[in-house]
């Protein structure tokens, strides 16, 4: 009996946590974040544009798959050229894998030829928890009306092997293409894959 009560409590607690995660169709929660150049970005200031959020950890093998192959940078370039706002978000806690100072991130982006609109430094995990970001990478897309239209994986090959990028169906590109053409997003929610986001415990 005691065990049942404990389980009920645990389940309720977990329901409460998971309930915070934002769902496709919801208004995307507003946030303010500082980027690696010290500039502040407020999501609601970008109303009228598509916004992509990409959770990042430069030491994670799944992140490396998409950066060392140039896949992520290609996506960033392609979509920012088309007017999409792209935020790389780093929610690793200080001391944890993927945590970077502003200078380290700028050096990394330069070396990797990364081309996001900005890299938001979120060492307290506030933006990460607000969106329920689980993995690196974990991708979110917000439409010009401020609604979440995609939440999930970058593509349909959930491995850390760069050889799997060729032939993978890129969910982010598909969703952006469909949404920009005024069509509904066919695959709007998927299971994100990668490393756990290294939040402060």
């Amino acid at each position: 009996m005691k065990q049942i009560r404990t389980s009920v409590f645990v389940v309720l607690a977990l329901f409460a946590i998971t309930a915070l995660a934002v769902k496709v169709g919801d208004q995307a929660p507003d946030f303010t974040g500082a980027d690696s150049h010290g500039q502040t970005h407020k999501l609601s200031d970008y109303k009228g544009k598509f916004v992509v959020l990409e959770w990042h950890n430069n030491g994670c093998p799944f992140t490396k798959k998409h950066y060392e192959s140039g896949n992520m940078q290609r996506l960033q370039k392609e979509w920012t050229d088309k007017g999409v706002v792209w935020f790389t978000v780093i929610s690793s806690a200080p001391g944890a894998q993927g945590y970077v100072t502003a200078d380290q991130e700028n050096e990394y982006m330069q070396k990797m030829h990364a081309a996001p609109t900005a890299a938001l430094l979120d060492p307290k995990g506030e933006i990460g928890h607000l969106y329920g970001a689980k993995t690196t990478p974990h991708m979110f897309i917000i439409n010009p009306q401020g609604q979440l239209i995609y939440n999930g994986a970058i593509d349909d090959k959930s491995t850390s092997d760069p050889a799997d990028i060729t032939g993978a169906k890129n969910y982010v590109s598909e969703a952006l293409q469909e949404a920009k053409a005024g069509q509904p997003v066919a695959v709007a929610t998927t299971r994100p894959y990668g490393c756990s986001v290294k939040y402060a415990d």
């Binding site: 769902k23 430069n58 894998q97 959930s158 998927t190 756990s196």
Partner: protein, 295 residues
């Protein structure tokens, strides 16, 4: 050592790794044998013509490090193997023992720590005696890619191999005992006199187990075989009502349609059983639609 000190050390290692690998492409390629020692073992030292036997891909992991089940859960990736076999030989799909839940920064993964053996059935063709009945050796090789994680994840790549004597005679390997142990840890089919059904409701799924369940052990968990079906971090609620057990699991937030089938492992205090049942909508009038009150 207390857990605080361990955490500090892990963090320091993570930082060190980051410092070493973060800006260097030297760490881009999977490294051999980091935190995991791999070996290939077999039931027999022979590959007798027209026989079949189990091979085991053994991972001996450093303390605290883990690898993943076929459904890794919220993060991670299962090991993959590419076999190199003599002509006519066949290696079956990897068979995974029942995994454990692994908590990972608020996520739940499914995997293994310590010493784990993944099995594959090796089929030896008739005529593997080699031409003219000579005794030779069959070389079995495996290229393995895996992800091994603790606080951080490290991709690993290894080649393991085994040399088996061809001919007519079967010869038991000293490793046969390990293979038998691994076989015993594989999930089993449900006993034929046990009935299982699954119904779906907006937020949850309810698995009902009935029939002659004595001998199965006490049901303690349900682990899904498919990603994106149930919320991994929400432990199932288990209600026992006489000979009938109800297991309530939370549907995945990423599930935008109800699955036709629910596949997974029913974990009991003694064994793991394979479950693969059709999922039907819950009827309001049905008994299954309501979870019994606590007694």
């Amino acid at each position: 050592m207390n857990s605080g000190a361990l955490k500090t050390i892990t963090r320091t290692m993570a930082t060190l790794l980051l410092t070493l690998c973060g800006s260097s492409s030297a760490c881009a390629q999977p490294a051999k044998a980091q935190h995991a020692h791999l070996s290939l073992i077999s039931e027999q030292t022979s590959a007798a013509s027209g026989t079949a036997q189990w091979m085991g891909l053994r991972f001996q992991l450093d303390p605290g490090w883990h690898i993943y089940w076929s459904n890794p859960g919220d993060s991670g990736e299962p090991p993959k193997v590419a076999w190199h076999l003599p002509g006519g030989f066949q290696a079956g799909d990897l068979q995974f023992p029942a995994p454990h839940r692994i908590a990972d920064h608020g996520l739940t993964d499914y995997g293994y720590e310590g010493d784990v053996i993944l099995l594959s059935k090796l089929t030896v063709p008739a005529g593997a005696t080699s031409n003219k009945g000579e005794i030779g050796a069959a070389e079995i090789g495996a290229d393995v890619r895996y992800l091994v994680c603790r606080e951080v994840c490290v991709p690993g790549k290894d080649h393991v191999s085994l040399s088996l004597a061809t001919g007519q005679n079967e010869k038991l390997s000293p490793r046969a005992e390990l293979i038998r142990g691994a076989q015993a840890r594989l999930p089993q089919p449900l006993p034929s006199h046990v009935y299982i059904s699954a119904t779906v409701r907006p937020e949850q799924m309810l698995i009902t187990v009935s029939g002659t369940t004595t001998g199965m052990g006490q049901i303690i968990d349900f682990i899904p075989s498919d990603a994106q079906v149930i919320e991994n971090s929400v432990r199932p609620l288990i209600f026992v009502d006489g000979a009938v057990s109800h297991i309530r699991v939370k549907k995945s937030e990423q599930l935008d349609h109800s699955p036709a089938r629910l596949r997974g492992l029913l974990i009991t205090s003694t064994k793991a059983y394979n479950v693969d049942v059709p999922v039907t909508p819950a009827k309001k009038t049905s008994q299954n639609a309501s979870v019994p009150k606590h007694s």
